[in-house]
């Protein structure tokens, strides 16, 4: 298995190109944290000290840029999912992980949007794909333990989490509210 499946071209990237690319991702990270997922791409280029054309060449769509910005955070969540497979209670493990995903999605504005889209097939290994695989392992285990209802799929769960993150994004205390909404969704509205 290759160390990095996302770089199949044989010619290594030119040094300046890689440098610019890194600057762009860094600037985008800052601006997205400040202004959300629909931050101005021109401003990103400006802050990166790069022409807007360069940004568009490296990232043909906004989504592509978001993927690059959030990649490492998503990887962390995937790793977390792996750890939780060792947890004795499968239902609890899934629930814990979903809360972690929700927390990240709220903390990093725009991540929620990225997690929900499975659309664009030109982007190769997307955040959505990664997190789906990671979560699915947890879900399958929970289902085997009969801890989740049968119509629950990983796609639906992630959509739910992403939607909640999006909905609480401009709340004054979004993190706490998201936590609560997720708890309600997981345990149900009705009393048991």
């Amino acid at each position: 298995m290759p160390k990095d499946a996302a770089t199949p071209p044989r010619r290594p990237m030119r040094a300046d190109a890689r440098r610019n690319l890194e600057r762009i991702v860094a600037a985008a990270g800052e601006l997205i944290a400040e202004h959300g997922a629909d931050a101005s791409l021109e401003e990103v280029a400006r802050r990166a000290g790069v022409g807007s054309a360069t940004l568009h060449r490296h990232f043909p769509s906004r989504q592509a840029l978001l993927e690059a910005v959030f990649k490492d955070r998503v990887e962390a969540l995937c790793a977390r999912a792996g750890d939780l497979l060792a947890e004795p209670d499968p239902g609890q493990a899934l629930s814990t992980w979903l809360r972690a995903v929700g927390a990240h999605a709220v903390a990093n504005r725009g991540l929620g949007t990225s997690l929900m889209r499975d659309a664009d097939p030109s982007l190769g290994e997307t955040c959505h794909d990664m997190i789906t695989s990671a979560g699915d392992a947890l879900l399958i285990r929970a289902r085997a333990a009969d801890a989740v209802r049968p119509e629950v799929t990983i796609t639906r769960l992630l959509k739910l989490v992403g939607a909640i993150a999006l909905a609480t994004e401009q709340d004054p205390d979004g993190a706490a509210e998201a936590e609560l909404l997720l708890a309600i969704a997981i345990d149900g509205v009705r009393t048991r």
Copy 2:
């Protein structure tokens, strides 16, 4: 109690102004149905046969326009809530109503966004206010019957429904998916 609390100005609106306003709302309704809540306002004005300045004079913000477009649909949902107060099972009544709200939110793109915002205080009686009051009656009854968990508030429920509608908006079969997600959220992820 006045029949229409939203028109306190004594001078009646000029005939042409009212005509334009109606045209704008109609055009906006069409375009929002086609392109979602972030349809181009210029295009709305164009289709209404009106200058863009006129649109902005009548509706100082996008949100104000959305409120006008969805007002009657929201009133229908409020009426539905009133009817459901007669339902014998309070928990069931609440759940039925939430599904109805979800269905409307999915069918009318952009409605979900409107229902969640309680922000702008300059807009008087907003859709959000109306639906909150209507739903609260159902929720209070359900809570009295001990049918819902205590941390559930009407604001949170509506946020949940709106978020789900938003998340399924670009799904191929959004309506069915939203229905399912809502069912999961209401009954909980876990088996009972």
